[in-house]
Symmetry: C2
Subunit: 377 residues, 2 copies
């Protein structure tokens, strides 16, 4: 037995909801083990009746048997376990429990005292609408592609797309620093092209380069993008880490909107009985990491997300959290203009509709962009 | 149709092997779609007979029907698609395909021309053995815990564990910068304690603090750790990103060994028909990101990994790759001294045995550490 530890904590607690798949008669014991695993990861019988036992080990708040093989368990943790840092918050929520069988993280609630240390979408729905001067309509986004195109060609596409009225023109997430179109040259050419289109048409389109770089070059690429006149950033937290996105969102010297991209995150949602729910991953965590928009594959495209998963994401993007603005769900993934009205029916007007390659059909990029814009106006 | 693009590529290609679960008659079409998805993500019928078609779109190299609902497909990609950067390599391997149903990444082969731009374990098996002066025996590791302990208590544990002959004493992965034991004070106290133990016993133990910090503080914590006399680092690529680990491993001004920890990565291996195989995630990718040791939950502990999954990881840690040293599999997760001989039988001598809380049983930490050490000598 350890000697007792005595200290005070604030009493503020965060809450995580886990679905425990498997024999319900084992759920209580699994939940108790989870409370230990996510915090002290130490034999509980060696901890005396002290502050570690009362305040550091997670606490089971409720249990609900949902089916014959599913118990939903709510666990709370002292905010001090996170050190008030997002990386350690991720660890508390799902660090080791991600490796345990049959546990899915399905909801997260963060108290205000911890929220102020996490990411905050700088723009959110209202800020984005103001930036692109679109008070009510759905916003439009597209991607510059295909990989292998030269900076000049991507810039020509960017001009046509901006002139055609697309609000946000992002790099395809596959564009990094390839020899076909290296980052510096591409970003300069595309930012210039979107700037010219805005001048020519009076538009307010934003160019958002992809900040997917080696760790030690992330800040330099961000700086290059800002200097070139980028209007925002595409960030992939599955690759560069959720806290990278938070750090970009927190920089007052940058102050541009962020699109979170789901690349490499799919593994977390590929099992019905493990991983993280669509809503928590692509809604809640994206928001607490500072994304203003969260891209995800819409149902009925070439990906696997169900209508229900997409609803869950949209709800998590807009649920009321004091001090954390609602953000724009950004469904994409094989979408086309024929689905615009259906998408608006499903998501409402607070949505960014992301259509990529389909705008190249027929070869009239600007005309296609204009038609896309008319479809939502 | 796009106008044709013409350029030269090196001809060097990397290879990814995907298991496509589902109707085998659909596998060819799914593989073709995958080749597009992971590269140009653009309607293939709009790409003419040009360099993008021949050199940028992935290429199906082989297909093998393994069962009635599983086809194993090997796809190659031009190294240029990665821009010779690890983050974009991850994107090419499994960025969007992580979001497609029924696709599991099960093997990766990187040509030498690309390998030299990725991470490289600085020490590997031989380097680690030399550092701790243990030419042949299994190495021993443990973790400082539980969270809630003061720096003084953790340092006292560190002294006893080092004096008892444990080679590598890491922070528990849950130790970040909590008020119970803030990073600077904890790391200084624990590094000092391990240093004193080494002086007192003539040992070569290494203290490895956890570098899990906000993005904009990662470098500062690394510097603090080095200045305090840390002997290595615990890094969590599931939280701070695989390329963060690569960047740490690449720093010649640091030059200390790295333990990769699996926190938050479990989601990738929770589905039998999706995500990433255990070997690729905890072996191949850890190695290409510069880990000298890869921690994972051993079979038969409190986690879910099977004996087969552990074998796969161990094999991937040591498979022959020119210029990329073999690394130490580091099984842990609820292990105890009673399992040492079984673990050595299974993994051989090139292994780091990680036992945490069990060394506190009976209250004689140093004596338990000495017994653990005797068990492998």
């Amino acid at each position: 037995m350890l000697p007792p530890s005595r200290f005070d904590v604030s009493g503020e607690r965060l809450t995580a909801v886990y679905d425990l798949h498997g024999d319900p008669s084992l759920a209580r014991g699994r939940a108790e083990a989870l409370c230990v695993e996510q915090t002290i990861e130490f034999p509980a019988d060696l901890v005396p009746d002290d502050s570690i036992r009362s305040d550091v080990i997670g606490r089971i708040e409720s249990e609900e048997r949902l089916t014959d093989d599913l118990v939903r368990t709510t666990v709370s943790y002292a905010v001090e376990t996170t050190g008030h840092e997002l990386p350690q918050l991720l660890n508390v929520l799902f660090g080791n429990s991600s490796l345990l069988p049959g546990i899915k993280l399905v909801d997260v609630h963060i108290p205000a005292s911890l929220r102020r240390y996490l990411g905050r979408p700088r723009f959110g729905i209202e800020g984005l609408r103001s930036l692109v001067d679109a008070p009510r309509r759905p916003l439009l986004a597209t991607a510059l592609k295909p990989m292998g195109s030269s900076p000049e060609r991507l810039a020509a596409f960017a001009y046509d797309l901006a002139a055609g009225g697309i609000d946000m023109i992002k790099d395809d997430h596959s564009l990094a620093n390839q020899p076909f179109a290296q980052f510096d040259a591409r970003v300069k050419a595309c930012a210039d092209a979107v700037g010219r289109a805005n001048e020519d048409t009076g538009g307010r389109s934003l160019y958002m380069p992809s900040i997917n770089a080696p760790f030690d070059e992330l800040d330099a690429r961000l700086g290059t993008a800002v200097d070139a006149g980028a209007g925002g950033f595409l960030v992939m937290p599955g690759i560069t880490g959720f806290d990278h996105m938070r750090a970009v969102a927190a920089r007052n010297d940058v102050a541009l909107p962020i699109m979170g991209h789901p690349a490499f995150l799919g593994g977390y949602v590929s099992s019905p009985v493990g991983g993280i729910s669509h809503g928590v991953l692509f809604g809640t965590l994206m928001r607490y990491a500072g994304a203003d928009m969260s891209i995800f594959p819409n149902f009925g495209g070439r990906f696997s997300f169900s209508e229900r998963a997409c609803r869950e994401i949209a709800d998590a993007c807009s649920s009321g959290i004091d001090g954390v603005p609602a953000i724009m769900p950004t469904p994409g993934g094989g979408m086309n203009r024929g689905r615009v009205s259906e998408m608006i029916d499903f998501y409402g007007h607070d949505v960014v509709l992301l259509i990529g390659g389909d705008l190249h059909r027929g070869g009239e990029l600007r005309a296609n962009a204009e038609a896309f814009r008319r479809a939502v106006s």
